[in-house]
């Protein structure tokens, strides 16, 4: 105990800056891990709960990416007597015009849906008061079936200041409609899904209002047994699937996995830095207390006790850092959630993340990770401490040096690390996650740190002569003292080398990646203007233009060409991919698609037009092992169709895989002529600013269109990119600050040690 107090506790209290920094280092590492775990959990849970709430009691559903013909219900009817219950559902995204926020529209058969979902009306029409659940009178109930009726959760009504009878302007699938709030739901069941951003309408009304006559998004089922299930399977059209509602969660979770691994790799960097800090701190504390250790051992402290004391130092740093880190992480999670939430929304699905809940599991994992890694980091220096000899009576200097043999071992290991990194790089990704890439980076960093003692020796011996020439004896002593205390300097230098090495490596990587993206964006976003149905930049389906906008735009005199863009998510095997469309002819003449194969896009686009072929993104090609000449099978409204691949292009906006086809082909395949974005090419000499003003004036009122300039899009993409890497930069900055402090610390200790020598020199001179 007094050993611990002498070597660890008192110094920790006395050297507050050192302690604070180390604890903070660990805390940051743990915080990042905890925050990422928390925000991930929250984002996923939000999504899962929404899906569950909307699925209600259904144990199966018939789903399709291209819509289901409602005649399927007639085919299902005979199975009712065998216990099957089914409910037709329209489940689509829309946008609230006033606030430009997403809303999920759930169209159900209000009469039969009671079997599936739990609704409780807080109030209907202008009638009953909130609170209890009085049975609404039949007449009022009937009003809910009117084609302009919508039922919203009480929370949503409060947020948007809606009362019974209030109008609610929506934009759904390109249809601008104003609905009337005729019912308000208590927050339970489906009313809690999507954070309450949900509106329920009668299915017939939904079909009429949103242009889906005869169409369903899915059919929810309560299937009594295996027999009925196989009977249903026989009735299914080829472009539909019979699956558990949870399958959708699984698919989304799989989709988010690569993204999550990336985040945790980031957290790994933070933890590595934290570990490194503990290593550095414990080692420096041992170097500074070396004399005390010698004295204590002379007095009878055993090597084991010394080892345990310093290990305890690591443990203490780890424990303190973990505790702070967990709370810091809880706070940080909120920020990250907004960041992740944005990325998830931009890249994958529309779901509003929920509140963050610090679960015991995550807290425990955070604590374990922080404490364990600190402990591991402290092992090597603690062993070092246990090897101090008690022969302190004679000499106080450091005799230990890195011997020549050890030096060459270090160099060889460094070279081996680099070689291994090069080899590992070539390994294919595991499950779409480039574990090899992370490993290679780690190996390079390790190589540099192994090499740093050598670099110090070489540099200091190279400096000896010039330093002697410049400053005589003092200069020589200074440069000679560095290798003499190599152990110490090399660790300080390794710290800085590691931190700066990491900084440089990551900065280079991110920088070159950023440059690639910039070039790609410049090439891809070559048009002059974009016309969007909503203000924000989002890939989701929440707001759409009707097809008629294209003809209107073509009539504008200063526009040279119009390229309407439409995309949708499609289930491909076990994955969710994006299928996009544009005018291939316009792309060929005006655009500049960055190609992988073939080199030039023009002939490949023509080929696609001629053969009803498609382009796939590089990520799609890699993920599903497809090349030009192969073909993709996609579910369409006409069943499953096969499309030949005539080109592979580069797309950094999407890592799940994209299939792109000509608009004509897309409309035929999916019976969907809506538009997400219109890309506009202006005639020569037309100023984009002018064009934008005129377009917003002409199309704003009719289509709720917003025009965006080319450079704004580019800037926005780069902003998203930079935001994503903010955490990385922050972490690296911490690493470098800590390393510099380590150097200062070490130099201070060195000066302390050399001061006697220097004093002698001063007397002599």
């Amino acid at each position: 105990m007094s050993l611990l107090r002498a070597l660890v506790l008192r110094p920790m209290v006395r050297e507050k800056i050192r302690t604070t920094l180390t604890v903070l280092g660990i805390a940051v590492g743990v915080a990042v891990v905890v925050a990422i775990a928390l925000s991930n959990q929250s984002a996923l849970r939000a999504f899962r709960e929404s899906v569950d709430a909307v699925a209600g009691r259904a144990n199966y559903q018939i789903a399709s990416d291209v819509g289901i013909d409602e005649n399927l219900l007639i085919a299902l009817q005979p199975l009712w007597s065998r216990g099957l219950r089914f409910a037709p559902v329209i489940d689509i995204d829309g946008m609230v015009e006033a606030s430009q926020t997403p809303i999920r529209i759930l169209g159900v058969d209000l009469l039969s849906d009671i079997h599936f979902r739990d609704y409780r009306y807080a109030s209907i029409l202008s009638g009953t008061s909130a609170g209890g659940a009085p049975a609404p009178s039949p007449a009022r109930y009937l009003d809910l079936f009117r084609t302009d009726s919508i039922i919203v959760p009480a929370t949503f009504a409060a947020e948007h200041r809606l009362r019974l009878g209030s109008p609610l302007a929506l934009s759904v699938l390109g249809h601008q409609t104003t609905m009337i709030v005729r019912g308000i739901l208590e927050p339970r069941g489906p009313a809690t899904a999507f954070n309450g951003s949900i509106g329920i309408v009668d299915i017939a009304a939904a079909q009429r209002q949103f242009g889906m006559l005869g169409q369903l998004t899915r059919v929810d089922l309560i299937v009594p047994g295996e027999e009925v299930r196989s009977a249903i399977a026989r009735l299914l059209p080829p472009n539909a699937r019979l699956e558990r509602p949870s399958r959708r969660n699984e698919r989304v979770e799989k989709m988010l996995r690569a993204f999550r691994v990336n985040l945790f790799a980031l957290a790994g960097v933070a933890l590595l830095v934290g570990m490194f800090l503990v290593y550095n701190t414990v080692l420096i504390s041992i170097l500074r207390r070396r004399k005390d250790v010698g004295v204590l051992m002379t007095l009878g402290a055993s090597p084991g006790q010394i080892f345990a004391a310093f290990l305890a130092e690591g443990l203490l740093f780890g424990a303190a850092g973990s505790v702070i880190g967990i709370f810091l992480g809880d706070a940080l999670a909120f920020l990250i959630l907004r960041l992740i939430g944005r990325t998830i929304n931009a890249l994958y699905v529309t779901s509003e993340p929920q509140a963050i809940v610090l679960t015991p599991t995550i807290a425990l994992v955070g604590a374990a990770v922080g404490t364990l890694l600190s402990l591991i980091a402290a092992i090597q220096p603690s062993v070092e401490a246990a090897h101090v000899r008690p022969s302190i009576l004679i000499r106080t200097g450091l005799q230990q040096r890195v011997g020549r043999a050890r030096r060459s071992v270090l160099a060889i290991s460094a070279v081996l690390c680099f070689a291994a990194a090069a080899a590992v790089c070539r390994l294919p990704p595991v499950d779409g996650i480039s574990i090899a890439g992370y490993l290679a980076v780690l190996l390079v960093v390790a190589g540099f740190s192994l090499l740093s003692p050598l670099i110090v020796t070489v540099v200091s011996s190279a400096l000896r002569k010039p330093m002697r020439a410049a400053w005589g004896m003092v200069g020589q002593l200074a440069s000679a003292s560095i290798p003499a205390s190599l152990r110490r300097t090399s660790i300080a230098c390794a710290a800085l080398a590691l931190a700066t090495g990491m900084m440089v490596a990551v900065a280079l990587m991110v920088g070159s990646f950023r440059e690639t993206v910039r070039v790609w964006v410049d090439q891809t976003v070559s048009s002059d203007l974009w016309l969007r149905p909503a203000k924000g930049l989002s890939n989701a389906d929440i707001a759409l233009f009707p097809a008629s906008i294209v003809d209107d735009l073509r009539r504008v005199p200063f526009i040279a060409a119009v390229d309407p863009i439409r995309g949708r998510d499609v289930t491909y095997g076990d994955s969710i991919i994006a299928v996009g469309s544009g005018d291939f002819d316009v792309v060929g003449r005006y655009g500049n698609l960055p190609m992988v194969t073939p080199r030039s896009s023009q002939p490949a686009l023509q080929d696609a037009l001629r053969r009803k072929g498609v382009f796939v993104s590089e990520s799609f090609a890699l993920k599903f092992h497809k090349r030009v000449g192969d073909s993709v099978e996609l579910p369409t409204t006409r069943g499953v169709e096969r499309f030949p691949i005539t080109g592979v292009y580069r797309d950094y906006s999407n890592d799940r895989g994209v299939v792109v086809m000509d608009r004509g082909l897309f409309i035929r395949a999916f019976q969907d002529d809506k538009i997400n974005t219109v890309v506009l090419y202006l005639k020569k000499g037309v100023a984009p600013e002018e064009a934008r003003k005129k377009l917003e004036a002409a199309f704003g009122p009719k289509y709720h269109a917003f025009a965006v300039l080319n450079r704004e899009i580019r800037a926005e993409v780069m902003k998203i990119f930079d935001q994503t890497f903010v955490i990385t930069y922050a972490l690296l900055a911490v690493a470098v600050i800590v390393a510099v402090l380590g150097i200062v610390n070490t130099l201070a200790a060195l000066i302390l040690e050399r001061s006697r020598e220097l004093a002698l020199l001063r007397i002599a001179a």
């Binding site: 007094s2 107090r5 008192r10 204590l296 009878g300 402290a301 009576l393 005799q399 040096r401």
Partner: protein, 224 residues
């Protein structure tokens, strides 16, 4: 405790910068239990080396060394640690107090290493601090003490566990003459009160006169 050296030779092995150094050559010597011996010799003659070997801090390159009946030159490291912890007290030229422990804790350290109870430690440390004349300094840290006071604390630490062998390496080397006298008086009277053997290395004739007899080291040889 009786100390006996049989044909002890000590050589510091060569390093990158320096050749091997032979400090002691075939030294045989016996110090009887309860003696107060002074070791004298020029700087670099090997006084500290000899004390290190006797104190089980280092092992001789060859020859045998006995403390009491035990041959320390053949004991394992852990046994040497226990021996130092239980039976030997060390006093150094540069005091070597632990700067992060206060006076009380510094003095108490050997007792707590020996696993004594709190009550015993408390009483014993007060007793010893009284004896070295520093009862009012218990909660001070070494940095707040004068050189003479630090050495008296170090002496307290060296005797707290009632060792049977006390080794003092130039205990007055870093003190002015008044404080040096005080420290020498203290060591002498502590020796007289206990049955401990004392081996003290020194340059000064004044210090040497406090011992029972003097051992001279020169050119690796020991003469009485």
């Amino acid at each position: 405790m009786r100390v006996r050296l049989e044909h002890v030779t000590h050589i510091y092995p060569a390093t990158d910068e320096s050749p091997p150094v032979q400090v002691l050559t075939d030294v045989s010597l016996e110090i009887r239990s309860g003696d107060f011996v002074v070791v004298m010799g020029a700087s670099g003659s090997g006084k500290s080396t000899l004390l290190n070997l006797i104190g089980a801090v280092d092992r001789p390159t060859s020859g045998r060394l006995f403390l009491g009946d035990q041959e320390t030159s053949s004991l394992p490291e852990s046994a040497l640690t226990m021996l130092r912890r239980q039976s030997i007290g060390f006093i150094f030229q540069f005091f070597n107090l632990i700067p992060t422990l206060n006076v009380f804790e510094n003095v108490a350290f050997p007792l707590s290493l020996n696993g004594r109870g709190r009550g015993e430690i408390d009483g014993r440390v007060r007793e010893v601090l009284d004896r070295v004349g520093l009862p009012h300094r218990a909660t001070h840290f070494p940095g707040e003490l004068a050189g003479g006071e630090m050495q008296r604390v170090a002496i307290g630490r060296a005797i707290i566990h009632r060792p049977s062998l006390i080794l003092a390496d130039e205990p007055t080397g870093n003190l002015d003459s008044r404080n040096g006298e005080m420290v020498l008086d203290l060591i002498r009277s502590l020796h007289d009160e206990s049955a401990a053997t004392v081996v003290m290395a020194t340059h000064s004739d004044r210090a040497a006169s406090r011992g029972d007899y003097i051992i001279h080291i020169a050119d690796g040889q020991v003469t009485r």
